[in-house]
Amino acid sequence: MTLIDDLRSAGLTGRGGAAFSTAVKVAAAYDNGAALIVNACDGELGAAKDAFVVAAHLGELVEGARLVTRGSGRIRYAAHRGSDTETRLIAAGLDVLDVPSRYVSSEETAVISLATKGLARPMTKRAPFVGGGRDSRGRRIPPTVVLNAETVWRIAQIAAYGPDWFRAQGTPAEPGPRLVTIGGAVPRPGVLETAAGMPLTTLLAAAGGMPSGAGYLWVGGLGGVLMPAADVPRLRWSSADLAAYGGSVGPGVIDVLDPRECPVEYVDRMLTYAAGESAGQCGPCMFGLPAIAADWHDLAAVRPGNRATVESRLTQRLALVPGRGACRFPDGVARFAASAHRQLSDHLAAHAEGHCPTSPTHAGPTHAGPTYPGPTYAGPTYSNSPVTPVAESTSRSSRVV
């Protein structure tokens, strides 16, 4: 059996969030003699699993990378500037790609652009860059494949223990062990080693459980969805179960919202942050995301008033953004905003009547809201983030089986 056969029968898919077949990607990398970039950026908000792989399984990670390039071909490890992960990779003498600490900088094509001496911004993918291609200015991009760090670690494990070992964990649709990062209002945030099919209650219990009165979980970060904490007891950690909320296991991030904080205001801060993280290259993203964040900011005010116009404008804009950027960032943010809009409709309605269900004294968001330049604006906005993404401090992992 070749590695490709093993990966195919194991059913390994990318652990960075896109869940694309790793066998197909590696086969294309073989065919094209592609260079490899191991993405250890933990690009999603709250993710810390790549950091865990580098801290705890570096040997297997390096072996997995060697298998993908068959011992020849350049291997680089992408990590955020100044992160512990970057320090560890450099200390191990590996070839490190220093990625700026911005949300879309760690996107697949942004990492390829950076690795080929371009800016750390996504590129239009007219065809997969594993076969080589050109950026929008015609700059030649040599064949390059990007694999998430957990994915590369799993490749080494499958090569060592075989596809049957892998398939013995998880579900037939989502086989194999996988990492999940749990954060937010839990007593023991961190990275857990688990598999699809695990009851969500069990997973959360491993992180110390949800606080009493917990209202919502945020699953999948800026590209994810909001779901009611009350549904947790009947759900498993699987894309099939999360599909009811428009979500998937994605990059494996669960954030428990603090019940003492207004969820509408929380989403407001996240959307304002997201609007500032658009790489400002593609019109529908650089205008659409600030417009969506501005609509939400209007809806979030705790003040009696008719919000019907803003509601319908937001709905229209949410439908208009997906699929119209070079990368999937706007699709993800629109999915998150749409899910928050659905889940928090009662809460939003209360705000529009002049009171907040979380706290009688809450008067709505206090920050200024996004800079929405409007249709006449001519260039990108690069505002600084009003929130600090969760630090990738976690190298601890507990096993939940």
Partner: protein, 79 residues
Amino acid sequence: MSSDQRRPSRRRAPVSAGAPRIGVDRVACSGHGICAQTLADVVGLDEWGYPIVADRPVEAKDADLAVKLCPARALYLRP
């Protein structure tokens, strides 16, 4: 739909077999909106002037002309 937004028309002219679809390089596109005129059947514009492209084939000669006329060289053909 708000009035400052234009969807591609629903009218469907029959096209030849193997006719291409239009792709937009979103990084290159500067929102000139010329494609909404050259390919009015499949391209509309959003409230900011950026193209909304219907996912259906267009006649190769129309597509070629639109690609040529895009000032940002942002349009390309997809199979």
